[in-house]
Structures are given as C-alpha cells and as structure tokens.
Amino acid sequence: MGAVIHAHDVRKRYGRSTLALDGLNFDVAAGRIVGLMGPNGAGKTTALKAILGLTPFEGDLQVLGRDPRTERDSLMQDVCFIADVAVLPKWLRVDHALDYVAGVHPKFDRQRADEVLSRTDIKRKSKVGELSKGMITQLHLALIMAIDAKLLVLDEPTLGLDLLYRRDFYESLLNDYFDHERTILVTTHQVEEVENLLTDVLFISHGKIMLDSTVDALPSRFSQLVTSSDHVAEARALRPVYEREVFGRYAFIFDISKGGAPTADELAAWGDVRTPSISDLFVALMNGGNSTGMNSAGVSAEGAR
C-alpha cells in the first residue's frame, strides 16, 4: 500500500508576505502514529487544513491517493478529524449527534459509539452546552472512534482539558481505536503527553519540516550527553546541536548521524549518554539549532524539566 499522505513541495501563502507552508515534503505510511510538532505559528494547523482540504494550497499533496482540493467529498469517507476542542455546537443533543453521524456517515457503527458513551457519565438527552469540556471531548471521541476511517487527524485534541481527561483520551485512542492499520496524525505542543505513543515524529518550523524520523531511528541519530562543568569545553568542541544548563549540570545534544560527529562511545568518556526524549529534541531543534539553549521563553520552560 502506498503512502497515506504524500506531500511534495506544498506551499501556502496568507496574504502577500506570510508564508505559512514553505515547501513541505514528507510521507506518512499506513499504520503509523505521527506527531506533527512545532511552536505556535509554525504551520501545523495550516498543514492539517491542507491535508483535510479545508484550505487551498500549491504543490502536490495526496491523501489516501486523493487530492484534498478536488476530491474532498470522497476523501472524508475515509478521513476523520477532531480539530481543536469543543467544536460540537452547544445546541446539539447527544442522541441527535449520534443520529446525525449515523445518518450521514456510511462507516459509522452506532452500537460501538453507544458502547463507548455508556462508559462515560454523558446523558443522551443532554445538550452539548450542558456538558463539561472534558465530556464534550469524550463525546467527540466516541463519535470518531465508531467510524471505520483509515486516517484520523487530531489537532490539539486535548487543549484545555485537565490531566485525567487528557490521559483517558490518549489511552482510549491507543487501546480501543488504534489497530496498526489505521493511521493517526496528531499535532500538539504538549510534546511530553504524546511522546510515548508516537511511532514517527515530524517537526515543523516556519513552514518547513525540520525533522522527519521514526521514533525507532532516533537513537541512531541523536545522543544526549549530561556532564559536569569540567567537560563543557570538550563537549562544545564536538559541535553539539544544543546545549543547556540545569542545576550546574550541562546537557548537550549531538546529531550523531552527521559525518565527523562523535559516536555514542566517544561521548561516554565525558559523562552520561542516553537518547534524548522527544521533548528534549523538540526544544533543541526548535530553538533554531544554536547552542545557547535558554533564549526562547516559550519553549525553554518545557525543556527545563
């Protein structure tokens, strides 16, 4: 089977000057859980909108072999999305929401949605406006999980939810929905929340893909060295892509796939070596690759854990 998403030189311009997507190139294979990550304004949502046929763009983009610009209507039989939280209208009653999806979606299994809903406290006669934000997300997820789609797109699906709902959301997604044939594309800026469930990562910044890798390939690509201040000079000499200081200890991230880069064994001479977490990598690469680390206030808080 071909790629679920194939993007080649996808460009999108807002107005005259803002380039939201600056030549995106990537492929997403079937059965993957891909995290599309980037800082605010990096182009995540625009990329998703292009994939979902919600916005015009230039370039070549195929989703399940179809062009979302011209074949959106048939595409949506196989693609589901939860765009942001709380887009279910307040006036909609829960049982009507079920009736609606059952009426318009040929691949909706109502029994399954009922099953998922019965595990929650959501009443059938409640209106969406009477539900808490967490319950609205549960309802939306129950509707989506009962649709036999090939691609599920999630755009910040847990934004504004408390911890328990967030954990539940991803747990049910992974346990009850994902079956290694479906493909999930998720954007979030709460990287640590999804890093354990992803199989692939796509980092995007200024409308460009900065990193496109499977999670399995990360150890052979990046190493993180944690060392004391004694070895800072030696470590810097090895040209880390990122550096940061936490409580007197120094952490360096190296791209060990580059020619001339140190191997993990060489690094081990200077301190503890491990594979950086996705959130560490995110901070490292999204800071523009320079090694001062603590500049951008938005992401340094996340990295300082």
């Binding site: 909108k49 209507d73 887009v87």
Partner: protein, 307 residues
C-alpha cells in the same frame, strides 16, 4: 443525492432552529384562538358588506358555486398570516444558518463528515423553501378546519348561516391549490433566500446588517443621484409580488350590490391560485439568479478559511 443523508441534514436544521417548527404552530394556535374569542360572527374573514348581509347572503344561499368559492377564499385567506410569520422566521434562519456554524466553529465538525458543501447548502435552501412551507401548509390545513368548526357553530341561525356549510370537494381543491402555491412561492422566493444565505456565508460579523444595508444604500443612492426608484420597485416587487398575486380581500365597488359582491367573490377565488406566475419572466429570472447564487454560496463555504 443520497436520500438518507438529505433526511438527516433536514432534521439537523430543525434541531438547531426549533423556531422553524414552533412558529407556525404558535401562529396557527393564535388564529384559532382569535376565532374562538372574536365577538364578530365571522371572526376571520373581511367582507365589506355595508350592512346588506341579509340581501347578499340570501342571494348566496341560492348560488351554490359562489358559496363554495366564498368558502374557499375564506379558508384560503387564513393561510396568509401564517405565511407571513413563517417568512420572517425563515429569513432569520437563512441569515443565521451559514454564519453561526463559523461563529461557534462547529463548521469544523460538520466538515469532518462526508457531506459535501453543496449538500449542506442545499439542505438549508430546502429547509427554507420546502420544509417550512410544507409544514405551514400542513398546520394551516388543520387550523382552517378548527376555525371553520368554531365559526360554523357561531353562525347557526344568523344571516351568515350559509357560511357554515362545509364543502369537502371545494376543501380538497383548496388544499391542492395551496400546495401549488407553496411550490410557486418556493420558486419566487428562491433568489431572496439565496441572497440571505450568501450574506450568511460571507459576513465576518452581523449578517443582518450585511443583508439589509446594501439594498437600503442602493435605494438611497438611486433616489438621490437619479431621483428614480427602480431598485426600490425591484425589491418590493420581489418581496410582495407573490402576495399581490394572492389578493384575497373581498372589497366590492362602493355600491355593494349582490351582483358586485358575487363578482368580487369570483375574482378573489381566481386569485387563490398563483400558477400564472410561472408564465412570468420575473419568476424565471429569479430562479436563474438563485441557481447562480447557490453555486457562489457553495464555493464560499467550501473555501472559507476563518473558523
């Protein structure tokens, strides 16, 4: 187009806009109540008889066909206030329908379903032009029976007693005529509804102002610049043209002789059907504009990207 999908989409509209269902029911209830409480015998019919009821109804009771015609005109006229209320409700519905979904961002949910923009816009157009009018037709049918029952009880033994006869055949023909009217009205008002949908899908905020201001400004501009009012005439023709065609007032010339009243009854009866409008270029000009407008609305909803 898939019938099950269309049915679901139409139901959806009634879930969001309960008023579309309730307004005709409430209007009908008010009309029935008025007939019940009215101290005037007729309660629901306007006939200017100059106190010559005795003479005119004596003539009428010997003239079956005129009596049937008056029966039909009377019950038919009951529909008009219900139509006017429904039109106001439908106008606000059309203005809201493609604006609210962007305002509350639920458009992202609707667009996550395999429903095309043409289906969505089509369902809103069908709600405004067919679903609600057919509902009004149904409700008014029941209401007119109730009003007839009430009035006929009151009329027993008065000079107006001939009005208390029920003519099943005339009644069925009246309802079929009204059904025709629903369809003619749908064609006549299609461009108006499409215009409202267009403003609804286009306006960043306040679609009501977007819908009302341009025509008002155009009318003022034309009046001031050229001292003419063709635009105003054009708009009022579109808004009220259908009701000019459906003119059911029985107001005979001042002499009010039996003969002139009979003549008026026949004239009004002729007015009950609006099929003649199908022969006017105005109507078809409107239909063509509506079709073009429909595609513009669909396109705007397809690519509108500000939710």
């Amino acid at each position: 187009m898939n019938l099950k999908v269309m049915k679901t989409l139409l139901w959806r509209e009634t879930w969001e806009h309960r008023g579309l269902i309730w307004a005709p029911l409430i209007t009908a209830a008010v009309i029935v109540l008025t007939a019940l409480l009215s101290t005037k015998l007729t309660g629901s019919i306007r006939i200017n008889l100059d106190g010559k009821e005795q003479e005119i109804f004596a003539t009428l009771s010997t003239n079956l066909s005129h009596q049937q015609q008056l029966f039909a005109v009377w019950l038919g006229a009951l529909v008009i206030p219900q139509m006017i209320v429904a039109m106001i409700v439908v106008a606000f519905y059309a203005l809201d329908s493609l604006y609210n979904e962007r305002k509350d961002r639920s458009i992202l949910f609707w667009k996550s379903m395999p429903v095309s923009d043409a289906q969505t816009v089509g369902s809103k157009l069908a709600t405004a032009l067919l679903l609600v009018p057919l509902w009004v037709w149904l409700v008014s049918m029941i209401a007119s029976l109730a009003v007839f029952a009430i009035v006929s009880l009151k009329l027993g033994g008065t000079p107006l007693a001939p009005l208390a006869t029920f003519y099943p055949g005339a009644w069925v023909i009246l309802q079929l005529t009204m059904l025709q009217n629903v369809l003619v009205a749908a064609l006549w008002y299609a461009p108006v509804v499409v215009y409202l949908l267009l403003m609804s899908v286009y306006a960043k905020r306040n679609p009501f102002l977007w819908a009302v201001l341009p025509p008002v400004l155009l009318v003022i501009f034309e009046e001031v610049a050229f001292n003419t009012n063709m635009i105003a005439g054009f708009i009022s023709n579109r808004m009220f043209g259908f009701f000019r065609e459906l003119d059911l007032n029985i107001s005979p010339a001042d002499d009010s002789t039996s003969a002139s009243v009979m003549h008026e009854i026949s004239r009004s009866y002729e007015q009950l059907g609006t099929l003649d409008m199908l022969a006017t270029t105005d109507l078809w000009f409107g239909v063509v504009s509506a079709v073009i407008g429909f595609f513009i609305v669909v396109r705007l909803r397809r690519w509108r990207d500000d939710a």
